[in-house]
């Protein structure tokens, strides 16, 4: 039955609707796969065997009645930063180890409304802070293509589970590359939508002006189906855009002819792995052969993006994470004699080192006398980075670049040097600062057989043209659908 695990959402839809397989059988197949593979990969923090089979039974009834939606009966995994009613939502932190949200995130309401199946909650860097999933308070997740390497992060569990076929698709969240970098490392498709396209209600906050939920899938069309399902206005998120849900599957079929693809000089610099550059260049050639026009462009403030990001993101995080005080929910230390000690002990014991490092940096940047020098300065540079993109999109429709400077690195390689870890997000961070959509999709492999991803970016709310280009490129590249851990 291994081939059933290879099927995409659209393919499974036909199988399910024709009655060739039931949602219950499909869910059982995926639970078995988790049972046999996840001991090695460790993508899941929580597996919901019973709940998944109950949802599957309901989905089968809906399908039998002929009322199926695109995701009815499709087994999925959810990053453990998205609130799921009554189901542990840990953010891979000791602080929320036993937290069971009393409500569902908007994206969960929408998935449940379609009858999608939740197989479980997926591992991540604690509070989505990291690029390797090694910052999980529970355990590190491994890259299915090479178990000695990281899957990327922070949505490492979400990308590894899709790649290892332990779910058909998953949801991740992306603040500085946390969907795209792991998608690239694991050889799957990952999209960070335009800021405001997907509701953040029920997404545990890291940096509110940058956070966005998005799909991780095994093909471009699946990403379109999943994004269409979760996108759209929500009045419980004041930054949610009051726009109709885009028809992305239609865009997929429109072809590449006439699309201008911008190539930013600042993204093809020294230090980028040679095979990453050569695979991206091959991808560009394929797009050109399919009728796209390649245009050299410049994004001159790129080199300042990481510094800008680490001020803005940590400042917002230090404020957002002040809610973990041991009072309303989550962990509380036992050794204290007054309120202040309770706060400090709770937070000292509940948070891991990277979370504390970012709270400290953010608190420092916002503290009296430093606000102008750090937060305001960074927010001004953010404006310059946005203007770079605006100018670039006058000359091109999409921008193509590497997702990360290297393919997946080894577990433990960058743990001792936080700054080196931050630098792996150099090409993904500008997209969050500008609030534009960015997609990572498979483009080839390096000599070790590790996946190389290409990043495609477009202007605000131009997901349509992004999917148009990505779908064509996927067909043009014609990569074999071979998945790891067979």
């Amino acid at each position: 039955m291994a081939d059933l695990l290879d099927l995409t959402i659209a393919e499974l839809r036909r199988f399910l609707d024709k009655g060739e397989i039931t949602a219950t059988e499909l869910t059982g197949l995926y639970l078995d796969r988790i049972g046999s593979v996840d001991g090695k990969v460790r993508a899941y923090v929580t597996v919901l065997e019973e709940g998944a089979l109950e949802q599957a039974a309901k989905a089968d009834k809906i399908i039998k009645q002929g009322d199926a939606s695109p995701l009815t009966g499709i087994p999925m995994g959810i990053k453990d930063v998205i609130c799921t009613e009554g189901v542990p939502t840990t953010c891979s932190s000791k602080m929320l180890k036993d937290f069971r949200p009393p409500f569902n995130a908007t994206v969960m309401e929408r998935l449940n409304g379609q009858g999608a199946i939740m197989l479980g909650k997926l591992n991540m860097d604690e509070f989505a802070m990291g690029s390797s999933t090694e910052n999980s308070a529970f355990f590190a997740t491994r890259n299915p293509w090479d178990l000695n390497r990281i899957p990327g992060g922070s949505s490492g569990g979400s990308a590894a589970a899709v790649s290892a076929r332990m779910c058909v698709a998953s949801l991740g969240s992306d603040t500085g590359g946390s969907i795209r970098q792991p998608a690239s490392n694991c050889g799957v498709v990952g999209l960070k939508p335009t800021y405001g396209l997907v509701s953040r209600y029920g997404l545990v906050a890291f940096a509110s002006s940058l956070d966005q939920i998005g799909p991780i899938t095994r093909c471009v069309e699946d990403a379109a189906i999943l994004l269409e399902a979760v996108a759209g206005h929500d009045n419980r998120d004041s930054t949610s855009l009051p726009r109709p849900v885009p028809m992305l599957r239609d865009s997929c079929r429109e072809g590449l002819r006439g699309i201008r693809v911008g190539i930013p000089a600042e993204y093809f610099i020294d230090g980028v792995q040679e095979e990453v550059v050569s695979e991206i260049k091959n991808g560009l050639k394929v797009m050109q052969e399919m009728g796209a026009e390649l245009v050299d462009i410049s994004l001159p403030h790129t080199e300042y993006a990481i510094a800008t990001y680490y001020i803005i993101a940590t400042a917002e995080a230090s404020s957002n994470l002040s809610r973990y005080d041991g009072v309303k929910y989550g962990f509380r230390a036992v050794n204290y004699s007054n309120l202040m000690e309770m706060y400090r002990e709770t937070r000292a014991q509940g948070f891991g080192p990277e979370v504390k490092r970012r709270i400290m940096l953010g608190t420092y940047c916002l503290s009296a006398g430093y606000y102008d020098a750090f937060y305001k300065k960074a927010s001004q540079v953010r404006t310059l980075i946005i203007e770079d993109f605006k100018k670039a999109f006058e000359e091109c429709d999409i921008i193509a670049s590497p997702v990360a400077p290297t393919t997946a690195f080894k577990i433990g390689e960058k743990v001792r040097d936080p700054l080196q870890m931050y630098l792996s997000d150099i090409f993904t961070i500008p997209v969050n600062l500008a609030g534009i959509p960015g997609m990572s999709m498979p483009c080839g492999f390096d000599r070790k057989g590790l996946p190389v991803g290409i990043q495609l970016m477009a202007g605000h709310l131009r997901e349509g043209i992004l999917f148009r280009a990505a779908y064509s490129l996927e067909k043009g590249l014609g990569l074999d659908r071979v998945w790891p851990l067979n």
């Binding site: 800021y195 001020i311 937070r347 504390k356 305001k376 300065k377």
Partner: protein, 95 residues
């Protein structure tokens, strides 16, 4: 750029309601200094007169109807609290 001192790190830890061992304070001080040195590259950009961006997409006057809706039940909310009693959160004595 001025270097952050151990004393400042201790002060920030207090503001952030965190507590560290002396060894941790020392490690954090050197790591924070490395990160601050890295971010100081922003000083080289002239941002005179540049408007800061706090949201990548601005939405103004985000109104919705003021409808009365049910809130979450109190017992469901306090179920996650480390300590609660009669629908209230229990904390150490403050006054």
């Amino acid at each position: 750029m001025a270097k952050i001192t151990i004393k400042e790190v201790e002060h920030v830890a207090e503001l952030a309601r965190l507590r560290f061992t002396p060894d941790e304070i020392e490690e954090f001080t050197s790591q924070l200094n490395a990160i601050l040195k890295f971010v100081s590259k922003l000083d080289s950009i002239d941002t005179e007169g540049v408007k800061p961006t706090y949201r990548a997409i601005e939405i103004f006057n985000c109104f919705r109807e003021d409808e009365v809706k049910n809130s979450l039940p109190v017992e469901k909310v306090t179920a996650n609290a480390p300590a609660s009693e009669e629908g209230a959160f229990v904390v150490p004595r403050i006054i």
